[in-house]
């Protein structure tokens, strides 16, 4: 469409619309369209209570129900945002005078001379000034994911995924990205102590020697080890050696989040404990039974990648059905989502089995007969799902969530076997963890032993069990009754308070170690830096019991693997060469574990075993506990990046809330922010309520991991502790909770209404576009007509600059169809660009600094909304509105079209942010980096300026990476190849939703995406010519369930 045509079209548009007049001509200049919204299909779904014009997209329930814009949303710098805390105008003027005087005097003095301190012996591989990358691995729940860590002169600064690792394939999770901040956390435990007395490692070893000798006399009776779930071959070997010396000793694995359901479930289904491993590449239809597989669990990065790869709009596009009680990242990606209480899922699966057995899958008959046939779900939904599964035998997948009991997992296994998915989308293998299970069952046995007084020495290397274990174990009291408790942890936490010997742990990036990925591939964990505060590894703590405590993990590890390397079939050559290879690659080849063969199901036996377990659940309000996508089980509570991250669904920062649906809240007369008292099994906890769209009715969800009482200063007293209500027999779901209002109110720091793009322009086209597959594939559809108007030339006052003669024309494309909203890009960006955290108070005032925000939009009703995520950083407009208004030229355009931000010029007028229609600029209201610890300084990226107070900042398209790549390639006399240069967000993205490159190269991936038929520009009507293009979300609904039927 040419500019002239466009003018005409606009004039026509204006004529048929009544333009809202808000704030004069600025809005008039914008092309405010009242055209049919594209989101959510051809038309918006109309909520019955919504008698005003329904919003196609909404971010919060308040926004949806209000007729006008959300109060406060219109104000980019809300009240108080610009105030200086605790300083009156008078004292401000005094400070100003003094600082001016000091600056004048200071400027006249010569700068003090700095020192340059070179190496004494420079390590061979080091080139001062150039970063090195080391492969290592990290195990959150025992299974490792491969990392590639950037290190500047020995200081790790940035974490990437190891492309050679089968589980990470070059991307990372949110938690892995944030490890850097945890490493440099000054609040970590630094002192080995016995009681309150600081002791040396050698003293500790002597202690263990004496105690060990005594214990060995009795064969180790009374010696117990409580470890986290682990796949480490070294730790397994140490366990074997310990048990040789202390045959009566016992090891127990415990993790707050365990995969026990799947293991026990496969025991029910197959007669032996097995662990499923999933593959989404061949899966055309996926059913998630409350499994947040895109953002939770050790397979998440790989599964996200495989899922994203099949979201290309074609006949091959996969279809995702999700059944879940509370909205998750995976639920947000669903084509069909059924909200269902957790305790009803078992009944739903049994019914599904019944339906499928009626369609010829007779092996499911016995299990199917257990289904009640009906529940709170729409029967049509289940029938349609059945048809889809049946049509896609061998190309479907059913995944059950980790919170669910074995019976659900056993049905899930039966379904996968009956549908012929075994060997295609799912395979079962023997558990790779040292203990098959690591949930509450084994911990119960240990608790009984302690209560019986038969435990003398307890070694705890599990992550903070006193905090995370079910409350009925009363671990805190029990641990105090054990004469000798040795606890190995990163922080002086709740567990450390109960033990008499505390060993500070080395951080994962300070440790040697090993571990296996879900497919068995072994990775050697190598340290990036020597322990900052003298921490010790778990292997060192355990090896003390077999007299190897002073060997060090490196030696232990090498000794163990030297023995293993001799195994036939392994690499030839000297061990040193092999070892170096393993470390460099980040994986040990030929260590994968195959799938078990001969996996069969006896339907009758399974049905018999399952029948008593499938009893109808009790009555009353359901209480559910949820794994937190940010702080996990609470171990990352002291990580400010994670705490300040907006929760993918609720957009809540620095807290957890009691989640419930709008309907349930109305019934209980509770509103968001009301502090309520939850009573469950005579235990009470106070929590602030938070109404979330898409939550199952008559159910509440308590995210775990908050309410920590003993950790660093960041994580203490953040949120409430759901563990105080969690019991071992119902660790995830139960009925029978009651809620009473306390009358108190609580203020959340929720970012969902911050940085609203057009608070007054509610009629402009929806920022996030979504359409059903059929429309996308039909070239003449309304969808394409709509998008055609949202790209291409737009009339602007300024003559656009021609960039075609430049070597590069940087641009980005973000595929909303692949973005799951997992937040990995946000933290990757924060780590790469030295972005500050501002704290809960700061977020509450709209001062959060992350350069990328993920706008999470809902469409449809608050009960059953669909979700679209839109990551948004600076879009680098070619005619950037921010640049016209800067009085000091601190934001200007580069020759290659980058919208540059020059910190040293910025005087902090904030005009640019005011004029930015995308609201992507961030202002340093306070000096957030002035008082960071010396340790934290080590983790800063030396290639990016650390901003101080009064300076505006925003996404730079990772210009430091561009310049680095440019210099490297210019020296080699070539140009930067497509894909050679990745921005931090792009590199961290598990689904590859973000693509960056040069638009001057017609063959680059980003150029191709910019010409995609799904491409559109955000706020295209303003004529800003953004360099970041978006690709519309595509939904792949089952025609049988299509809307309006």
């Amino acid at each position: 469409m040419s500019c002239d045509d466009n003018h005409e079209a606009r004039a026509k548009d204006r004529a048929r619309r009544s333009l809202p007049v808000v704030g004069g001509d600025r809005v008039g200049e914008r092309e405010l369209g009242s055209r049919e919204p594209v989101a959510g299909g051809t038309g918006p779904s109309q909520g019955p209570e919504n008698n005003a014009r329904p919003l196609p997209l909404w971010r919060s329930i308040e926004e949806r129900s209000l007729l006008g814009p959300h109060p406060g949303a219109a104000n980019e710098f809300p009240g108080g945002a610009a105030e200086l805390d605790g300083v009156s105008r008078r004292s401000f003027m005094q400070l100003l005078g003094v600082s001016t005087a000091i600056a004048t005097v200071g400027a006249a003095c010569r700068k003090p001379n700095e020192k340059i301190i070179p190496f004494v012996r420079r390590p061979e591989e080091t080139t001062p000034g150039n970063a090195l990358h080391f492969a290592t691995a990290y195990a959150l729940e025992g299974y490792t994911s491969g990392l590639l860590v950037e290190s500047h002169e020995g200081r790790p600064t940035k974490i990437e995924g190891n492309p050679a690792h089968p589980e990470t394939i070059g991307a990372t999770t949110v938690i892995e990205q944030a490890l850097i901040l945890g490493l440099y956390d000054d609040d970590r435990a630094k002192q080995l102590r016995r009681g309150g007395e600081a002791i040396a490692w050698q003293t500790y070893l002597a202690d263990v020697r004496t105690r060990g000798a005594k214990l060995a006399e009795k064969g180790g009776a009374g010696l117990r080890f409580l470890t986290g779930p682990t796949t480490s071959p070294l730790l397994a070997d140490l366990r074997r050696r310990i048990l040789e010396r202390f045959p009566q000793a016992k090891f127990v694995s415990y993790g707050a989040v365990a995969n026990d359901g799947a293991v026990e479930g496969s025991k029910m289904a197959f007669g032996r404990p097995l662990v499923p491993r999933h593959h989404l590449a061949p899966a055309a239809v996926i059913l998630s039974l409350d499994s947040d597989f895109l953002a939770d669990g050790p397979e998440q990065t790989r599964l996200s990648r495989e899922f994203g790869a099949r979201r290309e709009p074609s006949r091959d596009m996969n279809r995702l059905y999700v059944v879940e009680p509370a909205m998750t990242v995976t639920g947000g990606m669903a084509d069909h989502r059924l909200r269902l209480r957790g305790s009803d899922v078992g009944s739903l699966v049994a019914t599904l089995c019944g339906l499928l057995s009626g369609r010829g899958l007779s092996t499911l008959g016995p299990v199917g007969s257990l289904g009640h046939g009906q529940g709170s779900w729409d029967p049509k939904w289940l029938v349609a799902l059945c048809g889809d599964l049946e049509r896609n035998r061998g190309r479907s997948l059913i995944i059950a969530g980790r919170r669910h009991p074995p019976v659900v997992h056993s049905f899930c296994a039966a379904l996968n076997v009956a549908l012929g998915n075994l060997g295609s989308t799912v395979e079962y293998g023997a558990p790779l963890t040292t203990d098959a299970t690591s949930g509450t069952a084994a911990l119960g046995a240990l608790a009984e032993d302690i209560a019986a007084g038969s435990v003398d020495t307890l070694v705890v290397t599990s992550e903070n069990p006193v905090y995370s274990a079910p409350v009925d174990f009363k671990l805190a009291q029990l641990f105090k009754r054990v004469p000798n408790v040795i606890y190995h942890g990163l922080y002086e936490d709740e567990t450390a308070a109960t033990c008499n010997t505390f060993v500070p742990a080395a951080h994962a990036l300070e440790s040697w170690g090993d571990g296996r990925a879900t497919d068995g591939i072994v990775s050697i964990v190598q340290p990036l830096i020597a322990p900052l505060w003298g921490g010790h590894t778990e292997a060192e703590v355990l090896s003390a019991f077999v007299g190897d405590g002073d060997l060090g993990t490196h030696e232990l590890l090498r000794r163990y693997w030297r023995g293993m390397a001799k195994l036939p079939g392994n690499l030839a050559g000297s061990f040193d060469n092999v070892w170096e290879r393993w470390l460099a690659d980040g994986i040990v080849p030929d260590t994968g574990a195959g799938a078990e063969s001969g996996v069969t199901i006896n339907g009758q036996a399974l049905a018999q075993a399952a029948a008593p377990l499938l009893a109808r659940s009790g009555a009353g309000l359901e209480i559910a506990f949820a794994i937190d996508p940010k702080v996990f089980d609470g171990r990352f509570a002291n990580n400010a990046w994670l705490q300040e991250l907006a929760h993918p669904i609720t957009k809540l920062t620095w807290d957890n809330g009691l989640l419930l649906s709008e309907t349930t809240a109305k019934g209980l007369e509770v509103e968001t922010g009301d502090v309520v008292e939850i009573t469950y099994r005579d235990r009470k906890v106070e929590a602030p309520a938070l109404i979330v769209p898409g939550h199952a009715d008559d159910a509440i969800t308590l995210p775990l991991g908050y309410g920590r009482t003993a950790t660093g200063h960041v994580g203490r007293a953040v949120g409430f502790n759901g563990n105080e209500l969690r019991t071992s027999d119902a660790p995830w779901f139960d009925r029978g909770a009651t809620i009473n209002k306390t009358g108190k109110r609580f203020k959340f720091a929720i970012t969902q209404d911050h940085f609203t793009m057009s608070p007054d322009g509610r009629e402009s086209p929806p920022p996030a576009v979504s359409a059903p597959l059929a429309e996308v594939l039909n070239a003449g559809s309304m969808f394409h007509e709509e998008l055609e108007e949202r790209r291409g030339p737009q009339a602007v006052i300024h003559q656009p600059v021609d960039y075609s003669g430049q070597a590069y024309k940087w641009g980005m494309a973000i595929d909303l169809n692949k973005c799951t909203g997992c937040n990995a890009c946000v933290v990757a960006c924060q780590s790469e660009n030295n972005i500050a955290s501002v704290g809960k108070d700061g977020v509450g005032r709209g001062r959060e600094m992350q350069w990328i925000r993920i706008d999470r939009y809902f469409t449809g009703s608050p009960e059953d909304p669909e979700m679209i995520n839109q990551p948004l950083g600076c879009v680098h407009c070619e005619t950037a509105p921010c640049e016209y208004v800067c009085p000091v030229n601190a934001t200007v355009h580069s020759d290659e079209g980058l919208n540059e931000m020059i910190y040293n010029r910025c005087i902090g007028t904030r005009y640019c942010s005011n004029n930015c229609p995308y609201k992507v600029r961030r202002f340093n209201f306070l000096d957030y980096t002035g008082d960071i610890s010396a340790a934290r300084e080590l983790g800063m990226n030396p290639e990016v300026t650390v901003r101080s107070r009064g300076v505006m900042e925003k996404c730079t398209y990772c210009v430091q990476r561009i310049e680095r790549a440019r210099i490297a390639t210019r020296i080699e006399g070539r140009t930067i190849a497509d894909g050679e240069l990745q921005t931090a967000c792009q590199q961290g993205c598990p689904t590859q939703a973000i693509v960056f490159g040069s638009l001057n190269d017609p063959n680059s991936k980003v150029s191709q995406l910019h010409t995609d038929t799904r491409r559109y520009d955000l706020l295209h009507e303003l004529g800003t010519r953004p360099r970041t293009a978006y690709l519309a979300r595509v939904r792949n609904p089952n025609p049988e369930l299509a809307k309006g039927d």
Partner: protein, 216 residues
């Protein structure tokens, strides 16, 4: 009673008006001029190092290439101050008993780095990269002056933004064949500007003046 103001007061008033006007213009003007002096820019101020290292001796007398010690200059943003071990490559053999070299031996055997004093510094928000300049034929001497004639190294150029931009706008004057970057005496043959233009083509020089070239 004598008048309150006498004729001399006229003169006084005129003088004081002149002084005020001169001060109003002169003080900022003077400060601005001062800021442009070598003194304010820390130039022409030889900096004593903890070790009496003499560049004249090493480069002129012994003919050691700059890149023997500053050996990352062509592959890293930093030129690098040599590690102690590198000094001892030679000085374990020659002058190995010299008292002048005692700090070097001490550093090596006690594993304690030598602490050199910085001569050249750009602000924290400036990201200068040695490797691209050296690889495109900007000689050491262009920014660092005749180090081969300095007993103690002093800052030879102001390293102001204007200094950098002058060259980024007109690089021809400071280009030389890449093989001659460390040569302190190299002079172009013929017309320097014409030779520079030719070198810019030969060395594939494309200077940039976008802000993020240096500020990130």
């Amino acid at each position: 009673m004598s008048p309150l103001f006498r004729p001399k007061h006229n003169t006084l008033a005129q003088i004081s008006l002149f002084v005020i006007a001169a001060g109003a213009l002169g003080v900022p003007g003077g400060l601005m001029l001062y800021a442009r002096t070598p003194l304010a820019r820390g130039m022409q101020d030889p900096i004593e190092q903890p070790l009496q290292f003499d560049h004249r001796h090493h480069t002129r007398d012994e003919g050691i290439d700059c890149r023997y010690c500053h050996n990352t200059v062509d592959k890293s943003p930093a030129a690098s101050i040599p590690q102690t071990q590198l000094c001892l490559n030679c000085h374990s053999q020659i002058w190995n008993k010299s008292p002048l070299l005692e700090p070097v031996r001490e550093s090596f055997f006690q594993n304690k780095p030598l602490e050199w004093r910085r001569v050249y510094k750009v602000p924290e928000f400036v990201y200068f990269n040695h490797s691209i300049h050296v690889n495109k034929g900007v000689g050491c001497v262009s920014c660092h002056g005749r180090v081969d004639q300095m007993a103690a190294v002093e800052k030879a150029t102001p390293l102001t933004m204007g200094f950098c931009l002058d060259c980024h706008r007109h690089p021809e004057e400071n280009l030389r064949p890449v093989s001659e970057v460390v040569n302190m005496d190299w002079k172009p043959e013929g017309d320097p500007v014409e030779a520079g233009r030719l070198l810019a083509v030969q060395n594939n020089v494309h200077t940039r003046t976008s802000c993020t070239t240096c500020h990130r």
